[in-house]
């Protein structure tokens, strides 16, 4: 007996809850060398931008304890190449695509949402709100509830009605629930939590920043406690809103931790660097963990750790 792993992101049903995280699963082709990407719940694309981007200079990544700092800077081919090459390839594989978008202004987000949903193929549009706003001196949209809501309102209006819009939030705000509420009020059908946390490392021998870009985003197991906390707080405040949880998931147990906190799907980022088979392995481990606990449907585990506790004598 194996568990029923199906889950839903708003009205979109996925065969299982394990996704790649944006920018961590390549175009899908890289991982398809190792396994069939249609076995993923979905592949989340790197954040797509209007123009092609060369990204940031190297070194772009640095190892920190149980974490990785990155300042890749969303290197990518731009929306045109994505639509003519990457997306058709994914659909041809039978894979589902969560398409992440990033723009420096509301207008750019709108343009991206329109272009990407003109044709069918995009299962979910994930709005990367950690992107620096050109209109607010490089401050990320996700730092502010009203800036976030403005983007979401515009994207929701521009995207095809049947493509759910998920807002991807940053954890480094004093009140993530306030930002989440604002996004949902603005029309987001769901939330993706969390993006990387701004961090930095110094190469002590060179006495220089380890990254060419000086600061970068921290990911990996180091940030999992932040992810669990954000998912928990947002699920407690907005129990009906689907959450894609992510941050430091390396094993099926870690995925289960986010599901118990309230995530209905789990995205795997940095783990793909450590293990090219991470996603199918985590899916299998999650399935085993659920079965071992007598849980027959993954959906039953969502938010389970929130149930009121009977005080047990210890």
């Amino acid at each position: 007996m194996s568990a029923d792993m199906r889950t839903r992101l708003s009205h979109v049903e996925l065969p299982n809850p394990i996704l790649t995280a944006a920018g961590c699963g390549g175009s899908g082709r890289e991982l398809s060398v190792f396994y069939d990407v249609s076995r993923l719940g979905a592949l989340t694309t790197p954040s797509i931008t209007l123009a092609p981007r060369a990204g940031r200079p190297t070194p772009r990544t640095a190892e920190t304890p149980s974490g990785v700092l990155n300042a890749v800077g969303a290197q990518g081919p731009g929306v045109d190449a994505f639509l003519t090459s990457d997306l058709p390839w994914l659909l041809q594989q039978g894979a589902r695509a969560v398409v992440s978008i990033a723009g420096g202004s509301v207008a750019e987000f709108v343009e991206l949402a329109k272009r990407l949903t003109e044709q069918p193929g995009v299962s979910v549009l994930e709005v990367n709100l950690s992107w620096p706003s050109m209109e607010d001196r490089g401050r990320p949209f996700a730092a502010d509830a009203s800036a976030s809501a403005e983007v979401i309102t515009a994207v929701r209006a521009a995207a095809r009605f049947d493509v759910p819009v998920f807002a991807k939030l940053a954890p480094d705000v004093p009140d993530v629930v306030a930002i989440a509420r604002a996004c949902v009020a603005a029309g987001a059908e769901g939330l993706s939590l969390i993006n990387t946390v701004p961090g930095m490392a110094i190469d002590v021998d060179a006495a220089r920043p380890a990254l060419a870009a000086v600061t970068g985003g921290l990911s990996g197991p180091a940030v999992r406690p932040l992810a669990v906390r954000c998912v928990w707080q947002v699920h407690a405040a907005l129990p009906g809103v689907p959450i894609v949880g992510m941050g430091g998931v390396m094993t099926g147990r870690d995925a289960l931790e986010l599901i118990l906190a309230g995530a209905c799907a789990v995205a795997v980022g940095t783990a793909n660097f450590q293990d090219p088979f991470a996603c199918p392995r985590i899916l299998r481990e999650l399935e085993e963990a659920l079965t071992a606990r007598g849980i027959e449907r993954a959906a039953e585990a969502i938010g389970l750790a929130h149930r009121p506790s009977e005080r047990q004598p210890r």
């Binding site: 920018g23 961590c24 699963g25 390549g26 890289e30 991982l31 190792f34 931008t49 123009a51 092609p52 981007r53 060369a54 990204g55 940031r56 200079p57 190297t58 070194p59 772009r60 990544t61 190892e63 149980s66 974490g67 990785v68 990155n70 300042a71 890749v72 800077g73 969303a74 290197q75 990518g76 081919p77 731009g78 990033a102 723009g103 420096g104 750019e108 950690s130 992107w131 620096p132 706003s133 050109m134 490089g138 401050r139 990320p140 940053a170 993006n195 990387t196 701004p198 870009a213 600061t215 970068g216 985003g217 990996g220 197991p221 390396m250 793909n272 660097f273 450590q274 293990d275 090219p276």
Partner: protein, 269 residues
Amino acid sequence: MTVVAPAIAERFRPGQFVAISVGGTGSPMLMRRGLPIHDVKPDYGGTVEFVFPADLPGAGWLAERRVRDSLDLVGPLGRPFPVPRDPVHCVLVGSGYGSAGLFMLADRLQQRGSRVDFVLGATSADRVFGALRARRMGQTATLATEDGSLGVRGRVTDVLPQVIEDARGDVVYACGPMAMLRTVAAVATEFAIPSQVAVREIVGCGTGVCMSCVLPVIGEDGITRMVRSCVEGPVFRGERLRFDDVGTIPFDALGAPGARGPVEGFRER
């Protein structure tokens, strides 16, 4: 270090590498280290031998592994050295543990009837990798150490021009630190012969998903792109790799920050 890995041993072609994971399950070190494959042998169904530098983060853990411990490695990865169909004169240049990647190549070249001359070097004698083997295999083997403790005092690139001349080299193959590859490529250009250089330090995923390992490379179409050395390399044609611009995004690279792209914020993710 030698590991039993039949699937890697079978598919391996010279120039490819393995990406190894250090620290075991739950390790605080999350990135893989790309290491040149030194040798593959048919023993025990197929073994793979690779070399790692003593100062590699995680080297201590690797050195502690004992017989029959299992090791997590992915490979063979990357594009191999192109090997000419017809016999030619090949000069193989290696520095430090980068030399490790050259012996399987030499073997393959010699099988095709090519002549192989080695130039190996390192900071000091104890860091020169494979000097004996190079002497056995190569038509000639020239050694250079910075402290003069073995062979000529100096760098491999100091002796390379003479070797190319003596051997009437048709092509140069090299593996070593970036600065050395840069000089190798420049020397080859001076001789108007092609060079094939394998970059060595690949830390990240090794599989093309993390975007850590990009280098500015000029494509067939003349356009510079930031390409991943783990999947589009580690072997590049020397004249295509823009050594002077490594560590930057050249202004003329595809998608370089310019009029059209979004501005770079102080913390972009």
